[in-house]
Amino acid sequence: MDFEVMIGVEVHAQLLTKTKIFCGCSTNFGRNPNTQVCPICLGMPGVLPVLNQEAVELAIRAALALHCKILRRERFARKGYFYPDLPKGYQISQYEEPFAAEGILSFERNGNCKTIRIKRMNLEEDAGKLIHEEDRGSLVDFNRCGVPLLEIATEPDLTSPKDTHTFLAELRQILQYLEVSSGDMEKGHLRCEPNISLKKPGQSEWGTRTELKNLNSLKGVEKGLLFEIRRQKRLLESGQPIRQETLLWDEKREIALPMRVKEEAGDYRYFPEPDLVPLVIDEEWIERVKRSLPELPDDRKKRFVETYKIREQDAQTLTLTRRLADYFEEVVKIHSDFTLAANWIITEVLGILHEKNLSIGDLSVTPARLAGLFHLIQDETISKKMAKEIFVKMVESGKQADEIVRVQGGQIRDEAEVERIIEEVLKGNSEEKVRYQSGEVKLMGYFIGQVMKRTDGKANPRMVNEILRKMLEGNPQKSGVQKK
């Protein structure tokens, strides 16, 4: 039975600050255990946190890029739980007053555009790390403790593991693009915890939601989700209940197992952090960050319309993702027929991505190569129709356009050659020639078709048209096709 799938994600991205969120310790990754610590991040008695303004700045960047509303005045909260990697017995996070909320992130997959709503964004501190060793027992490394994290939670708008993969890739790209986070999932700099629920089509109630943890790569996210969807399906189909729980993904065994109950959180007893004053983010600060931002998609869309004189709708499509927009701009840097580039990318490039289930980043045809193809159209080496076929061959073979043209030949543009072929066609169709000359001009299309058939479509259409008229009517006539 087919089920509908609803996925939301909670992403934790380590921010690229030089120092930790509440103290001056370095955030360098991979140093010897407990060498990047101080009384503050170790939560010793009497110490107090002081908020790192750089972390706030990076969070503002991300919030702006994801079109979130940034709260002007917000308080941090304490989230209480006991665990040896959490030295204060609480994590400083945000609860009732999130950093930012109500954003969106749009992405393209298979040529379709999807928009995922961002529910909220929080600034918080990371915990330390437990290391379990057989001979020495459990050890704890606090180097990571206090590294700033940006928590980004989406609404459950994702509908498949593939979508989730693409969404995360897109989000990661934005965070990297803005230099907010390194986005390195393997190193745990970006962690993703999706929640999933299923329902039978037509039913109104969604099933119980479960959460997945310990996913260390985008592939892992996809695999984990596929596993969990299958597991939930089996339970639903056999009429068994789904428990609301958190499952841990085991990368090696490719299974997800429920967390031990003790590790699961009960009541976090959130309350406003009294050691920090409310964080006030004024318009001026936001504007300053805005000015330092790389161009955001909306602005880019407007610029595309103005600079490249393309239709707004096309600009919208081209700026759906930064990669697609970058791709377009790389192409038009080399090739100046903006309209051709825009149309081609929207129809042909997105078309083939959809057909082959790829993303623009996977495409072997680089912008330079696509521009190369356009040059061949422009200098009439190939026709637009031929170009479409050559493009498919480029995608499939990884070869450049001129390589393919060199092998299969370009347009036939030698006048003598074209004349020779036309003569042959006219000889073989003498009856039609008579009919044409007696006024049945619509037969022109028939002759062109015959020529193209004989040349595998390689004859230059403008040339064929002109020579045909000349040979049929005896005197050269300016046809609708004008020489460029």
């Binding site: 009384p39 170790l42 939560g43 010793m44 008695p45 009497g46 110490v47 107090l48 946190p49 002081v50 908020l51 304490r78 209480g80 006991f82 040896p84 030295p87 204060k88 017995g89 609480y90 459990s138 704890v140 003790k262 009541d267 007893r269 959130y270 309350f271 009294p274 050691d275 920090l276 004053v277």
Partner: protein, 483 residues
Amino acid sequence: MELCEQSAFVLHQMLVSKEISCREILLSLLNRIHSRDLNAYITLFEEEALKEAERVDQQIKRGEDLSPWTGIPLAVKDNICIQGKPTTCGSKILTSFQPPYDASVISKLKEKDCLFIGKTNMDEFAMGSSNENSHYHPVRNPWDPTRVPGGSSGGSVAAVASGQAIWALGSDTGGSIRQPASFCGVVGLKPTYGRVSRYGLVAFASSLDQIGPIARTVQDCALLLEAIAGYDSLDSTSLDRPVPLYSTNLKREMQGMKMGIPREFFGEGLDSKVEERIRFAIHQLEEAGVEPLEISLPHTEYAIATYYLIATAEASSNLARYDGVRYGYRTKSFRDLYEMQSKTRQEGFGDEVKRRIMLGTYALSAGYYEAYYGRAQKARTLIRRDFDQAFEKVDFILTPTAPTQAFKIGEKIEDPLQMYLSDIYTVSPSLAGVPALSLPLDIPKDGLPIGLQFIGKTLEEEKLLQIAFACEEMKILDNSISS
């Protein structure tokens, strides 16, 4: 008068004039400490202090300039961190804990060559009003050793009152400086929230805790506040406002000032002897030209409940870090992590601390948060507003510091609610974040001190000290010492 009974101000002048040495002051204090066991100290830095005194004396010999704080021995409450010194907070759970850092107030005092004599006894984690909740046993009231010195800064206050320290640092969350100051007959000030950095003060209730000075004279109290007040980049809640020269600007004309007498502070529960003395003090101030105005702080009746919800909620979170994982006490035998943490806390915390952790945990729990913590926050806003409105009409507010004189050791320990009511007049200013000072009135015939509380507007410590100083000049109070 022995040196240990002198004020810091006088001792400084004697040092400058080379009449005495720093070593002599210290020996006088140590003699008093060893001759009279009040259990005021948990740790004494005897040897180190003697070395430090030696260094100061060399400085004097060389004719170097002395700051008013140089070489004047100071006692520090044992919840304020001094680098490399045991900091127990009167708790078993911090056994052998030595902070690798100084509290910001300690750094400031070190810069001024202040001499630290030791760490004083206190109610465990500053939770208590009698000093009976110390793992290191109760402190005795120097005026009557069968009575409590008040709490939680009982050790600091008893030391100052008995000549075992010239002055001391305490901390005040809901009255922990003022109530014992009242019980032991010394001057104690709780500054405006944010006036003094909390960095290095082991937290009890973060939104209420303030470090403050304890001394035998108003001038010493002003001098000590001057040294520790001011903005600190390590404490986000500290106020970035200039620090007045409190100690040199103590004179003020009292004529024409308005004092508010809140009727809610003179009701049920106020001991008649205490009330009589306070009324007499009001009369004396009136004679001096201060205009009394009966005022109302209408939400006073909610103060104790509000305080015990907010303070316990914050405490339950602040004390979560004592889990035996990194420092301090750890239980001897356990099977797993969970058992190690719970047994450590079970064995390491005393009853009152556990009671408050449980209360606070309950108040913050899902489903109860709004009814308890949420409402307490709202009540706190109302209490704060009461004070704002009152200060539109009056220059300062005058109340008793505590409803009774010092009670007997053991008298209230079995009845937490009775104990909590000992803070009834001190918690309101704490909740409002405004400064308040307890000034000792002259000792009645029974020999037990009574304190007068002056409450001021935010950041008006200077005015409070000036008023207290004027009272001192008028001999409304008594700086006599219990020896």
